[in-house]
Every structure is written in C-alpha cells, then in structure tokens.
Symmetry: C2
Subunit: 131 residues, 2 copies
DNA sequence: CCGCATCCTCGAGGATACTG
DNA sequence: CAGTATCCTCGAGGATGCGG
C-alpha cells in the first residue's frame, strides 16, 4: 500500500507464480533448447546435463500443461516421443533472454560488488579475530 | 552439444545463477518497491506482506552484496536504516518487468491451457475410475 | 526407449525469542 | 527500531528400480 503501486499484491503474486513456473532449475533451459526444434526425451536428457528422468518428465509435463510445449507420441517400437516448443512457448523466450542478457552484461560488475562487499566484511571481522 | 548453441552449458549456468538470485521469493518484489524511493526496514517489512525479519534481512543483504541495493545507517536513537535501489538495481527492473508483462498478457491463455490439459487428464482417468 | 513409483536428503525459509 | 540466533518444517529434487 502507501505509494507502492508499481507492484501491488496481486501483481506480485502473479509475477511470482510465473517466475516460479519459469525460473525453476530446468524450465527455461528446456524451452531454450526446444527453440532449436523438436527433440526426443533421451536427447533432452543428454543435452540437459545433470537432470534426472524424474525431473525431466515432471518439468516437461508442467510445460505441456501450460501450453508451452507439445508432446507427440509415435506408436513405434521402440517407442518414440518428441517434444517441441509451441508458439506461446516461443514468445516467452524473448523476455527471458532479456534477463539472461542483463545477467551476462552485468556479471562482472556484480562479481566486483561481491568481492568488495566480502572484503569489507572481512575487514570488519579483523578486530574481533581472536576466537 | 549438437545443434543446441543458443544456451550453452556456461550460459545456462550464468543464467540460472541470476534467476536464482532474482527469481527467489522476495528479491524482485523488494527491488520493485525500492524503485519508489528509499525505505526503512520496518516499512519494507510491512509492505512486503508475509516476509519474516530473518528473510527480509537476508534478502536485503544479498541484494546489497550484489550492488543492487544500498544500506544506510543513521546513528540516531532509535536507530534508522534506509535501503535504496542502486543504478544497477534499477536497470534490472526493466528486463524483469518484461517477464512480468508476458505473464500478465498470457495468464488467461495459460489458465485455459491448464484447464484443457486437466480436463483431458480427467477423461483419461474416466475408465479406471472405480477405486 | 520412455517414464512412473518409491525412498531419502538437504536446504529454503517460517516461528519464536532475545539484544543493542 | 533493526536486527541476530535457534529451532523446526516442508517440499524440491536426486537415486534407484521396475514396467510397458
């Protein structure tokens, strides 16, 4: 309340929900990868270094549910399943990449800030250093 | 690997680290609030409905460490501490708001996708419904 | 090959109480 | 007022094993 209107309660809630959706450990990476074209489950698993089957399945299901990704099953033996980004999914990539670019543009600056901050903390801890 | 180059291993790592930094439960809301001008600890705590002292302190420290927020202590009684967004902090708001706008522009669409998906799931569960 | 079920760990973050 | 310290909960997510 007060003069804080740029991000009211409701906006904040919506915003957090979408960041939660998209800001998790794997979603954006998957959306990003699927921009290149359809991929199979195992391909995604290999490309997304370190993801567990459990999480890959789960994350893809979420994205599918939200209409960001499609899942196509081919009745073959052995089974083949392809995932692809939807149009909606593609529109998300732009804004999110903007954040990514901000990240890469300012990372050095942030690292320097961190070092300065940590150094200042160490100095502060100088006096009461003995135990 | 392969044809996935838009978001390589390193980029993905950087990107996740920044999303982790900024995509947590409170950071963006605080940055957003501090756009309106400096605020005191208790003001922020009141405005940020539901945050604990512990998390408010912690989040503000992180933001300060990253150079996104400044912390100014006034040697008064009772003590007064003011937090404000830095220039760097302000530049983050744009990109992140772009994601927020995407969220609000597409939320209905997503809700519809979810409903459709859930309905389809229920239908699939129709046959083996008994127990 | 695709993916579900189960178990288990670990850390984010809330509640509470206390200080300068 | 502006935190710090401690304890505790709870859910994200990894590991493993099985099934179509």
């Amino acid at each position: 309340m007060e003069r804080f209107c740029a991000l009211d309660e409701e906006q904040a809630e919506l915003f957090r929900s979408i960041l939660g959706r998209v800001g998790d450990k794997w979603s954006m990476m998957l959306i990003g990868m699927l921009q290149q074209g359809p991929y199979r489950f195992t391909e995604l698993k290999r490309m997304t270094r370190g993801i567990s089957s459990r999480m890959l399945t789960f994350t893809l299901r979420q994205l599918e549910r939200d209409g960001l990704v499609t899942r196509t099953v081919y009745a073959e033996i052995p089974p083949r399943v392809e995932y692809a980004a939807t149009e909606l999914g593609s529109t998300l990539v732009g804004p999110v990449m903007a954040v990514a670019e901000w990240a890469s543009q300012h990372q050095r600056e942030i690292v320097r800030f961190r070092e300065a901050y940590d150094a200042a903390q160490d100095d502060a801890g100088d006096t009461p250093r003995v135990r």
